[in-house]
């Protein structure tokens, strides 16, 4: 592309951005807000008012609907890959095959390096947890809408920005670590795991805090229409993409590390 063309394209893009900004500022005042920013923030943390009906059986937090949606999407894509892609795998991989192998290989290596003695189950668990956290966190970027029990539209948040989801994953990770301790060392393994009794709480609240902070910043940015230009790109990357990567790595790495530690067989000391 020539310099002139590049300058023209840049000028057009800036004009479009400016026009949109002006339009936003002009029309911003007429927007009717159903909730104050305080209520929005409070609801994002506590989920007191905005509930979604789960098939008419029970009213649940929107994050649970997000979780089921993420699971549905992920399993559908996985089934498609299993049926159409995996049977055509080659010994010299293509780009997509390489991506899949890298994904599986990354979590498998994480399990192997951190827990050399027992890692088969751990590899499968950290793979599932990693995929769930990563895709679940990116899910909020798509802004899928749900209808609350009060008839309002709400953007489905990341599943793990709900305290219940974070607690479930944190406690499950702790139980997996405990199972590794029992399988590797029996009662001594249980003792080793129970020593770190704060682990489920720290893992749960780390996840919850990290993802909630992203959600709150995003809510804040989108609440004021004037902040809805350009800034969401930065916020989206900072609080969603990086969180997705960091939290995936942190939880899976911690789980693998503790699992390896408690499942490591101890040699009996000679008297």
């Amino acid at each position: 592309m020539g310099k002139k063309k590049r300058a023209t394209a840049l000028a057009i893009w800036l004009c479009v951005v400016l026009i949109l900004l002006v339009c936003g500022l002009v029309t911003g005042g007429s927007t009717v807000k159903h909730e104050s920013i305080k209520e929005v923030m409070r609801d994002a943390v506590l989920h007191e008012s905005n509930k979604i009906s789960l098939l008419g059986i029970v009213d649940v937090n929107p994050a649970l609907i997000s979780a089921f949606t993420v699971t549905g999407i992920v399993l559908f894509i996985a089934a498609c890959i299993r049926i159409f892609v995996i049977p055509k795998f080659q010994y010299v991989p293509g780009k997509f095959q390489l991506l899949l192998e890298q994904m599986v290989g990354f979590f498998d290596n994480l399990a192997r390096t951190n827990s050399p003695h027992r890692n088969k189950f751990l590899g499968a668990y950290v793979f599932a947890a990693g995929v769930y956290i990563f895709i679940g966190t990116l899910f909020e970027l798509f802004g899928l809408q749900g209808i609350t029990t009060e008839g309002m539209s709400i953007a489905l948040p990341a599943p793990l920005s709900d305290i219940n989801a974070a607690i479930s994953l944190g406690c499950l990770s702790y139980l997996v670590i405990l199972s590794g301790g029992i399988a590797g060392n029996g009662l001594r393994g249980v003792g080793n795991t129970l020593k770190d009794f704060s682990l489920p709480i720290s893992m749960s609240f780390r996840l919850f805090g990290a993802l909630l902070s992203g959600l709150l910043v995003t809510e804040l940015v989108y609440y004021y229409i004037q902040l809805s230009f350009i800034l969401p790109v930065v916020v989206g990357i900072m609080f969603t993409l990086l969180h997705a990567l960091i939290q995936t790595y942190v939880l899976t790495m911690l789980t693998a590390l503790f699992y390896g530690e408690v499942s490591e067989p101890h040699e009996k000391t000679k008297k």
Binding site: V45, L46, H47, E48, L54, V58, V60, N61, L64, A67, F68, V70, T71, V74, L75, A78, A79, I81, R82, I86, F89, Y91, L100, E101, M103, V104, G105, D108, G123, A124, Y125, F127, A128, A129, V131, Y132, P159, D162, I163, N164, A165, I167, S168, L169, C171, L172
Partner: protein, 149 residues
């Protein structure tokens, strides 16, 4: 009892249920097949590497074997050379000995034949002298008879 932060046990269980489905599905649909394929490829290349290593070892073993054979052949050649030289020497000695024997034999035969010839010639000469003497005697007797008549 109202739990702080609106923690709801039912929803925690529902999240666990959701994650269990996801984990199981991902294990059977993605993790296991991809890992199996990777293990299979690893085994394939490990097999190839082992095969190559085995072939190299076999080649080395054969090289050593041939080296040993060559060393043995050299020894054998020098031994055979030595043996051949010994045999040739022996054979030459035998031939010379035979030739000497033959020469002695021929000489002895020649001496014998010459002696025999000599004796024969002397005998012939004697017989001829006797014949001549007889003839001379007869002639003389005949001449005397003629003269008497």
């Amino acid at each position: 009892m109202n739990i702080p932060l609106n923690i709801d046990w039912q929803q925690i269980l529902l999240h666990l249920f959701n994650f269990a489905i996801l984990a199981g599905g991902l294990y059977f649909l993605l993790y296991k097949p991809v890992k199996n394929f990777m293990d299979q490829r690893l085994a394939y290349y490990a097999g190839m590497e082992k095969e190559a290593t085995d072939k190299i070892e076999q080649a080395k073993a054969k090289e050593q074997e041939y080296q040993k054979l060559l060393e043995g052949a050299d020894k054998e050649i020098s031994q055979k050379k030595e043996q051949a030289s010994k045999d040739a020497k022996k054979m030459a000695e035998t031939i010379v000995e035979d030739a000497n024997k033959q020469r002695d034999h021929i000489l002895a035969e020649a001496h014998k034949a010459a002696e025999h010839e000599k004796e024969k010639m002397i005998q012939d000469a004697k017989e001829e002298i006797v014949g001549l003497a007889m003839a001379a005697t007869v002639k003389m007797l005949h001449g005397e008879a003629v003269s008497h008549e």
